[in-house]
């Protein structure tokens, strides 16, 4: 008789990652799984993922300041970096999606009730594919901080949301990029949910003189390392 697979139960302590339950971030209380996770043996289902081609992105998708008739208000910035795997190798042709509030701290989303102005020249959504060196680049405006309902006088530090696809679907990462020196870091439970200080630091971009463009825009660098299993890309 063949041997039965044994699935190991594991706790919620992936290194450098936030836990599911972080009570200071109120929304985790009813949404965090409470049963142990089962360690999944890696099969083709875990080691493969979608491939995206040039048709996934349009000409102005990477430039959030040129998607409307005029330029958005706010501080124009260049956000760029490399997408790497756990071995430090570049992840080529990775789809990078970003979304953010405008310079006043307001999202175009209908659910955002913050009484700050929308900008008719800013949607706040972008996408691009990494190049052969794993590099991505966006032009946008620096998002504003904004209040939220988590606790009295709660404010989110300025951030840009990132969504990434690696070589395998299980490399998927959704995260947030922060700006250096933000005084709101200590009071933000979403940022603080990453308990390890070094891991937290990996969420903070750095001012980048290489992409800072004279008379035009400051540059911020945000390199991203995808976790999960190593995988071989599928031919499209």
């Amino acid at each position: 008789m063949r041997e039965r697979l044994r699935l190991q139960e594991v706790g919620d302590e992936a290194e450098g990652q936030p836990p599911y339950l972080f009570p200071d971030y109120r929304s985790t209380r009813l949404r965090a799984p409470t049963k142990p996770l089962l360690l999944l043996p890696q099969t083709l289902s875990e080691l493969t993922g979608p491939a995206f081609g040039d048709d996934a992105v349009d000409e102005f998708d990477h430039d959030l300041t040129r998607q409307h008739g005029g330029e958005p208000l706010g501080e124009r910035i260049v956000v760029s970096g490399c997408v790497l795997d756990r071995d430090g190798r570049p992840v080529r042709r990775a789809l990078v999606e970003i979304w953010q509030a405008n310079a006043a701290g307001r999202y175009i989303h209908e659910g955002d009730r913050h009484p700050a102005p929308l900008d008719p020249n800013f949607t706040g959504a972008g996408r691009c594919l990494t190049d052969d060196d794993g590099r991505y680049r966006f032009v946008t405006v620096k998002p504003g901080a904004y209040p939220w309902q988590n606790h009295p006088n709660a404010w989110r530090p300025a951030h840009i949301h990132f969504s990434l696809f690696g070589r395998a679907f299980t490399n998927r990462l959704v995260t947030q990029m922060y700006f250096p020196g933000d005084p709101l870091f200590d009071a933000d439970p979403i940022f603080q949910s990453v308990r390890d200080a070094e891991a937290r630091a990996r969420l903070i971009s750095s001012l980048d003189w290489e992409t800072t463009t004279p008379e035009w825009a400051l540059g911020y660098r945000f390199d991203i390392v995808l976790g999960g299993p190593a995988a071989t890309p599928l031919e499209q």
Binding site: S27, R31, T34, E46, P50, G53, D87, F169, L173
Partner: protein, 175 residues
């Protein structure tokens, strides 16, 4: 040398304009022979619908081949926590030991309040034989926990609810 991964952060409540503007919940046209609707709700620990979740699926094609250009779809939940995909039943794909796995979808759920996604699988209710010998399913001792991974037949497709927390919590995996 290995490099430390970037930590995950929640997708937040306002992702829709960034991630769900382009329609990408239908892998095939509804009229196509074999087209199958897979739908369900994302529910929290109080049994309440989660209206700001995003469900993504990844699957092989009907022949059981994982292809880069087919098999990924995404759907944000509506005010009632509901999501819906149109897809096809994938064929059987090899498992870790070259034994065929029962047909399944890989499912990732993101949401406000989830600091990292939950990973699960959806199996098919009309595949009792394949499910019975699937190495992963048979390794889950508790029938209730195993049952959370198998969709149920509905009049207009297959229903697969994702319960994030509580007694009927969906079985979630780690890598």
């Amino acid at each position: 040398m290995t490099v430390a991964p970037t930590p995950s952060q929640t997708v937040g409540p306002f992702f829709r304009f960034g991630l769900c503007e382009q329609p990408c919940s239908e892998l095939v046209k509804r009229e196509q022979p074999g087209a199958l609707r897979v739908f369900g709700s994302v529910l929290d620990g109080a049994g309440e619908p989660v209206p700001d979740a995003m469900v993504e699926i990844w699957q092989a094609d009907e022949a059981g081949t994982y292809r880069g250009d087919f098999g990924w779809a995404r759907c944000g939940t509506d005010a009632g926590g509901r999501f819906s995909f149109v897809t096809v039943k994938p064929g059987r794909v090899p498992g870790a030991n070259a034994e065929a796995q029962a047909p399944h979808l890989v499912v990732l759920v993101f949401a406000r309040g989830l600091l990292k996604p939950v990973l699960t699988r959806m199996y098919f209710p009309d595949e009792a034989e394949a499910n019975g010998v699937d190495r992963l399913l048979e390794a889950i001792d508790d029938p209730g926990a195993r049952g959370t991974l198998i969709a149920t037949e509905a009049a207009d497709g297959l229903r697969f609810d994702v319960r994030l927390q509580g007694d009927g919590q969906t079985t979630f995996f780690a890598l």
